[in-house]
């Protein structure tokens, strides 16, 4: 039964992906494509976050750090050197290297300790990067940031739409594959019960660090795409808001599902767009973050499974005997 369920889900994903791929050929709305491109980029970012929070049970409050590193890496390469394809590749490699090194050390320092530490250290570190981006003016132009040119291949909006969509699908497939791999299973075992996983002979720390690194790298890639989409980068890429976006998207969409991250990204990005427009109508909508904050708190409290998780559990309930569900709940 699980098999048919998965197949149906895969069919739905396929149809949606095909629809999104065909959309530019039948419809022509610049603002919609820009918005959808943002959704794809933040989907990648949110999925990278979901790998930590949803699949491994690690809370990061500094995910913006990896995002920002990617954004600045591409910006600096394109600004200081020619915007060639080679430099673009170099920027990607730099991002991967930097995010991998930093996430490795953050993981090494904190992941053997209580979950508080990772959250705290990532929050403080991203604060440090924010300051660094403000102060290292020769490289970053401080608060104001800078615009840059992008390689020919990324110039066309429609092409870039396809690139981001394909990246998102690729990241989704890679992470689905990864979370279903033996390593991914261990990560989920760690989330459920760390001591037991340790006592089964797994080096929990190693697995957590692996999750931290992979998550960091994908967040960096999302940052690259984000900066390219704006052709501009400033210190806001390191701000807590970016991390909060990822948190909101994964939590509202549903942790530990990957699809949830994508749905969450879609919802939040469209809501951003809509609420920003409403700000012209009434001043309270300028503070729209407050609504997100409240929704987020309520979601954590009453709706911890998110949209996808709740749908799945309803589905599950219909198919299985109810007492299975009960046991699951006790474990949580």
């Amino acid at each position: 039964m699980k098999w048919t369920y998965n197949n149906r889900a895969n069919a739905i994903y396929f149809i949606i992906a095909a629809f999104l791929l065909l959309l530019p050929f039948v419809h022509d709305s610049r603002s919609l494509f820009i918005l959808l491109t943002q959704v794809f980029i933040f989907s990648i970012f949110a999925m990278s976050y979901d790998l930590l929070l949803g699949f491994t049970g690690i809370v990061s409050f500094g995910h913006a750090m990896y995002f920002g590193i990617g954004a600045y890496a591409i910006g600096v390469f394109m600004k200081r050197y020619e915007p060639t394809n080679l430099n673009f590749v170099l920027a990607i490699l730099t991002t991967i290297l930097l995010t991998a090194i930093i996430s490795f050390f953050v993981g090494l320092l904190t992941l053997r300790l209580k979950s508080h530490f990772y959250a705290m250290l990532t929050l403080s570190l991203s604060g440090l990067f924010l300051v660094l981006a403000e102060k290292w003016r020769t490289l970053t132009y401080g608060n104001d940031g800078f615009t840059f040119r992008v390689p020919e291949i990324l110039k066309d909006r429609t092409d870039f739409y396809f690139i981001c969509l394909i990246c998102m699908i690729a990241v989704f497939l890679i992470l689905s594959r990864f979370t279903n791999s033996p390593v991914g299973r261990v990560l989920q075992a760690i989330r459920e019960n760390e001591q037991r996983t340790e006592s089964l002979g797994y080096q929990v720390l190693h697995y957590k660090i692996i999750a931290s690194i992979i998550s960091g790298i994908f967040a960096g890639i999302a940052g690259i795409l984000y900066a390219v989409s704006l052709r501009f980068v400033n210190t806001s890429v390191f701000a807590l808001d970016i991390t909060l976006d990822a948190l909101l998207m994964t939590i509202i969409g549903g942790v530990g599902t990957l699809v949830g991250a994508i749905i969450g990204a879609g919802l939040i990005e469209f809501a951003h767009h809509w609420l920003t427009a409403l700000a012209k109508e009434h001043w309270i909508f300028e503070r729209w973050i407050i609504f997100f904050g409240i929704i987020y708190i309520l979601a954590v409290m009453f709706f911890p499974l998110g949209i996808v998780g709740t749908l799945k559990s309803i589905n599950w309930k219909r198919r299985k005997k109810p007492d299975v569900k009960k046991e699951e709940k006790l474990a949580g």
Binding site: E327, E328, L330, A331
Partner: protein
Amino acid sequence: MSELLKLNAVETYIGQYHILQGVSLEVKKGEVTVLLGRNGAGKTTTLRTIMGLNPASKGAITYKGEDIKKLPTYLVAKKGIGYVPEDQGIFADLTVEENMKVAIQKDNQETLDRMDWILDLFPDLKKFWKKPGGLLSGGQKQMLSIARAYINNNELLLIDEPSKGLAPIVVEKVMESIIQMKEQTTIVLVEQNFMMASTIGDCFYIIDDGRTVSHGVMNQLKQDADMRRKYLGIA
């Protein structure tokens, strides 16, 4: 004699594990009831369930005829039940005096008198009065924990494996003190040490795989080698 505490078909989950699957027992006032059984049978969980530390999901727990199953731990304690956990639960950085002070609920003459009586029973505590609890020996920690559980004149004490990890000579000392306490209060004792259990205990319950499987007066068990072998793995 009437029963002070009664458990009827109590079931308890810890996480997803169904630890207690039907524990029923009656504790009579003034007696020492011993819970016996193999490691992991559910004896400690039974005590923790009574205290509300691992709340029961099914069954009934009544103390003096009152349902206490749903009460939070601190209210169970306030009903007059003292608890001595397996690890003694000593506050390591607090002095012996402070450990006692945390427990004291009424600061009156009666408590002071009882304190004197307890300190006579456990002179070591007086000796280390101002020392941190963490520096006490295993036996002294056990004494402090028992003293702390009794200071409020609790009518029922739940004591979890007081002999665990103690040298035989210390076990004897702890045992003697429990025999003295027995004059004052009712005791539920979890004990693996059959010598100790059979010396102090008036009646017994055997717990196996989360169920009470047998009970009776201690003398029966002393004579029934078969049962001892079956459930306790001792001859």
